[in-house]
Symmetry: C2
Subunit: 656 residues, 2 copies
């Protein structure tokens, strides 16, 4: 063989520096520095079949240091994935190219998760590794037996979420998770000495990780380290000592290579240094052939796996779960019918726990959890025993006080497939995991957030714990379905919607306080429309009261008082703004007509409610921080009671 | 002396369990478990003067585990602070009591920072310790010489932000920071074994911390550990081995004491166990006297300090800074006048750097920094040399890739006083530090966030890096002033506003891309009104174009095209929604009259713009995630150009 590992790695280097140069934008330093490590990984260790990127039992590879996106684009191209083509790479960072600035899971098969926001790829990989171990425990080694590999940089390791991810992975003993740390001692601002004095291996060891170091430019040493990592039962950190931008003679080893094109002169000099005498985007045939051989290394194993799946009794069930299809007979009809017969006054967090009973019985793919608020979020049911290092078949993760790590792990679990993760915390702490919620939305993952204590209704814990702006600020996020059910029936409906939504996350905002059952009919999932008329005006409709969650009860109270004064008032429950926006205009206009006085009631900011009330409508809510007191006192204090609202509505009617 | 340390500690225990019982809500476990440690701290080590809670040179005490709020309420009451009174404590968690569910800095002097959201008190304490060392370097030991003490629980240590705070403190060698870890092995969900296997002391040592353990119920051993911590030059973690809920005989050591009242029976049993034969809220005179003696321990040192401040040449300057007053002669007038004479087309991030030149020259109290994006956020100027462990007099912190840790530290710095912190990251990563931004707003701290790359205008980095919902979701947060300047003059104005705002945080959203200077007069700070007419319609006004930041230029382009068609169009620049909302109704109505077609243009979500356009207005923006491409292509792609907008405005006019 005339093609050396160095030639293979230089193909990554050349594509990376040339693509960044062509785009006049991007990050050449990381792919050039980690090219040798990536070459060893993709040609010797990673289990994949470039011809079948979605093979369920492939190893997962996560480029957590997503700014080095050219590394994965180069690897996918060279190993023979259908995309990206060289043309795609030529158009790196241009509109329409799947080779976006940072790797996007929705652009390219082979990109397992969108990365770029630092630390989150790593944390998502923890979720992938959890999903793998869980499915392995359920389906056995024959059907599920793969690893999760991560490339992470100093940024990923310095972010707070890393602590959460490392702690969770170490605690769960995820030995098939191997993190390749690009230890180049450079961040954007310069040397890592500027901002950190940490002994990173010691920190990892303190959390039950195995650590091994290697020369990240020596293929033999890299392989030795990988072998050691694979042998150790703990999750592994492979400290790859590298030179950022390796091959660029005048800039390597400095932050100048991190986030800017090398410049034409330095690219030319790098060609000389690397001995790469080929035009930009040209890969010599022998080098490409060697890479493609690596890309088809897994084909045989894939074929054997296909055979095992076909012959196994469990194969069809695994495929169903991996395809993300719910069982055909999944139904909550009986549960809801029962409630209609026996109405319940419970908090919606409790209603969530109730409906999770039949859900978790019928859907073996759910994996629940909470960030140390199990008894408050009501996320655990009989069917979900703990998932522990001693029993991965469990379906409940004690995530610890790690909201962000939990949410990112949920993304990884959903992206891995085969499981539907849901996890709980207080709604106010959606802020702690907001960057991961955003990646759920961007990546279109079926992650289900169970966010309880969703307003001042939580009472005494006070303003630090009371969401005010949260629901609205989450509604502002693209592709997130925010669901705020008003009673036990709507809670069941919202859970149905969240489970049935394959292409994006849902967030349930649930109360701490009890709410009466308002619905008397559950034959149709009315929450699916986003908003619906819960109660029609008795007489001539003058007012439409629009409310969500716990304030629908208040709206009903207001309507009673208005009707008593002879003023007709509809009550509209609006559990989901997103779903309502998708209804046709006639439905929307009929439900919330402009000729009525439109009044919103929600125990959160009024910011944004103009969309539904118009500027002349009334908006009742809270435009300041909350306070510490019993819930009832707070509703009085902030004026969110029928007795306080109804007179203002009447006054507004009289002034029109 | 007949009063033992145990008697003193039991006073904390009794007040805590009784207050929680009376409120029927709260967390007795932590205050009862840490009562002995707190007693040693408040009676022997903490430097404070209960009669003068704001003494500038006091030690700072942060109850990071804020749910244990009764611990600090008890300590403040017992040591003789004016508030809380016993009556306040009786009303724990009731409306109007300063004894809120979690400690609030705006409710009680002696509460240095609002805590409850886990991990943030600890991280704020890092900022306090930075401010102390910095001011010490500037003003000397005679005027600034105090410590920062923290009580933190397992939750604070498990949160991701802890990694950032620990890393920053260790790197900066903040030896006067002493963290008392309540090592009780219990979280809400149960034993810490459920969710973590971490060797916490090893992790701290890996980040250049000193760790010492003690029996948290043995005053002598606690004092020994404190002494060791004070001697060691590194920041210290004191591992206090405690029993949660100590004194409650049937529940201590379990999570049952964490977040619920003990119940009347257990409270009675605890009285027996503790030998506390006093009615609820009654403190025997001898015990109170001993506590009050502790509370006045610092009076003498305080008086001596007062004398030193009065006699020192530097005293007045220290007091000015600690009082948060800007120098009387602070002015950017010359800077702005210069710009009017020599207009500049620069990115607003560059404009920010430019104005930071004179700001940092004139205001020695600013301390800048960035979360590893110094060259991108343009946050460093000539006057701000690095603040390092070897030179705390520096004024620039290399925060590392620690957005959340940075923001929390900024809160601590602002709360400490004497400095005005500003720090940068990309706007999209405001999500990473959003929980700390919320605490800035709640705590009314003068923290200034410099958030650059504020839209698709950042270009190729793509959707993970392009804010869409961020500006709007930040506007939804109470008490945060979101400032999005349109040119170099507005950038200077917004900086003035942020600096002059003593009672809350400001966030500047700044562009990566260049913007023309639109303002031709800088004699008045027009941004102070939140919105103003940048350009008036030439003829009859039919349209009002409202834009912010980089889209004001586009609005001007649209106005040009409309005017060319004979349609009069005002252009309103709206750098701050919050400030505009504070203007009187006549100003607002005159600026954005309902009889005009109101059109908003902002390269972010249109969500919320109905407030200003009305439902019949037009809203141009981006209601999906962004994409990776050069900025110009993206503005075309998303339809945010005059050529794409103007025809739609004309069409809308014609259809009215």
């Amino acid at each position: 063989m005339t093609v050396s590992p160095n030639d293979l790695a230089n193909a990554i280097r050349a594509l990376s520096m040339d693509a960044v140069q062509a785009a006049n934008s991007g990050h050449p330093g990381m792919p050039m520095g980690m090219a040798d490590v990536a070459t060893v990984l993709f040609t010797q260790y990673l289990k994949y079949d470039a011809a079948a990127p979605k093979w369920h039992d492939r190893d997962r590879f996560v480029l957590s240091a997503g700014h080095g996106s050219m590394l994965i684009y180069a690897a996918l191209n060279l190993t023979g994935y259908a995309r990206p083509t060289i043309e795609d790479i030529r158009n790196f960072r241009q509109l329409g190219s799947p080779c976006a600035g940072h790797p996007e899971n929705f652009e390219l098969a082979g990109v397992e998760t969108t990365t770029g926001p630092l630390g989150q790829g790593f944390a998502a990989a923890v979720g992938m590794a959890i999903a793998e171990r869980h499915l392995n425990a359920v389906f056995g080694d024959d059907l599920v037996d793969h690893k999760t590999w991560v490339i992470a940089g100093d940024g990923c390791l310095m972010e707070g979420i890393n602590h959460e991810a490392v702690g969770l992975a170490g605690h769960l003993g995820l030995g098939r998770l191997i993190v390749l740390w690009d230890d180049n001692k450079i961040t954007i601002d310069g040397s890592t000495d500027l901002s950190t004095s940490e002994d990173i291996p010691a920190r990892y060891r303190a959390s039950n990780w195995h650590v091994v170091a290697c020369d990240g430019h020596d293929p033999v040493d890299i392989a030795r380290a990988f072998d050691e990592a694979l042998t150790d039962p703990r999750p592994s950190l492979v400290q790859c000592r590298t030179i950022i931008g390796k091959g660029a003679p005048n800039k390597q080893g400095t932050s100048a290579t991190h986030g800017s094109p090398l410049g034409a002169d330095e690219v030319a000099a790098a060609r000389t240094t690397l001995g790469w005498n080929h035009a930009p985007f040209e890969i010599p045939a022998d080098i490409r052939a060697e890479w493609e051989k690596a890309g088809s290394r897994g084909a045989e194993a894939h074929a054997a796996w296909n055979k095992r799946v076909t012959t196994s009794d469990l194969g069809a069930e695994l495929v169903r779960r991996m395809d993300g299809e719910l069982p055909g007979d999944f139904s909550l009809a009986a549960y809801k019918t029962d409630l209609i017969a026996n109405p319940q006054k419970v908090a919606t967090r409790k209603a969530s726990e109730m409906v999770l009973g039949p859900i978790n019985e019928q859907l073996p793919e759910t994996i629940g959890g909470s960030a140390d608020l199990t008894g408050s979020n009501n996320t655990k049911t009989k069917a979900t025993g703990p998932l522990t290092r001693d029993d991965y078949s469990g379906r409940y993760v004690y995530y610890g006080i790690r909201e962000f790590g939990m949410a990112a792990a949920m993304n990884g679990m959903a992206l891995h497939g085969g499981v539907i993760p849901y996890g709980g915390t207080f709604l106010v702490f959606s802020d702690y995991c907001r960057p991961a919620i955003r990646l759920s939305a961007l990546q279109q993952t079926r992650a289900i957030y169970v966010m309880t204590h969703d307003s001042i209704g939580l009472g005494e814990d006070g303003p630090t714990h009371q969401p005010v702006e949260h629901i609205m600020s989450l509604r502002a996020m693209p592709n997130l379905d925010v669901l705020r059910p008003a009673d036990v029936i709507e809670t069941a409906e919202c859970w149905e919607l969240a489970l049935e939504r394959k292409d994006g996350p849902s967030l349930l905002a649930l109360t701490r306080q009890n709410l009466p059952q308002l619905r008397t009919d559950a034959s149709e999932n009315l929450s699916a429309k986003g908003a619906y008329r819960l109660r029609a005006a008795k007489g001539d409709r003058k007012v439409v009261l629009i409310a969500t969650g716990s304030e629908v009860e208040i709206a009903v109270g207001v309507a009673d008082m208005l009707e008593a004064e002879g003023v007709g008032a509809d009550v509209v429950s609006m559990p989901s703004w997103e779903r309502f926006a998708e209804q046709d205009a006639s439905y929307r206009a009929a439900l919330i007509p402009e000729d009525a006085l439109r009044v919103s009631i929600e125990a959160g900011t009024t910011f944004g409610w103009e969309r539904h009330t118009g500027s002349r409508g009334l908006r009742f809510g809270i435009d300041s921080f909350g306070a510490s007191a019993p819930a009832g006192d707070l509703y009085e204090h902030f004026g969110l009671t029928p007795a306080k609202i109804a007179p203002q509505v009447l006054a507004a009617l009289n002034s029109i």
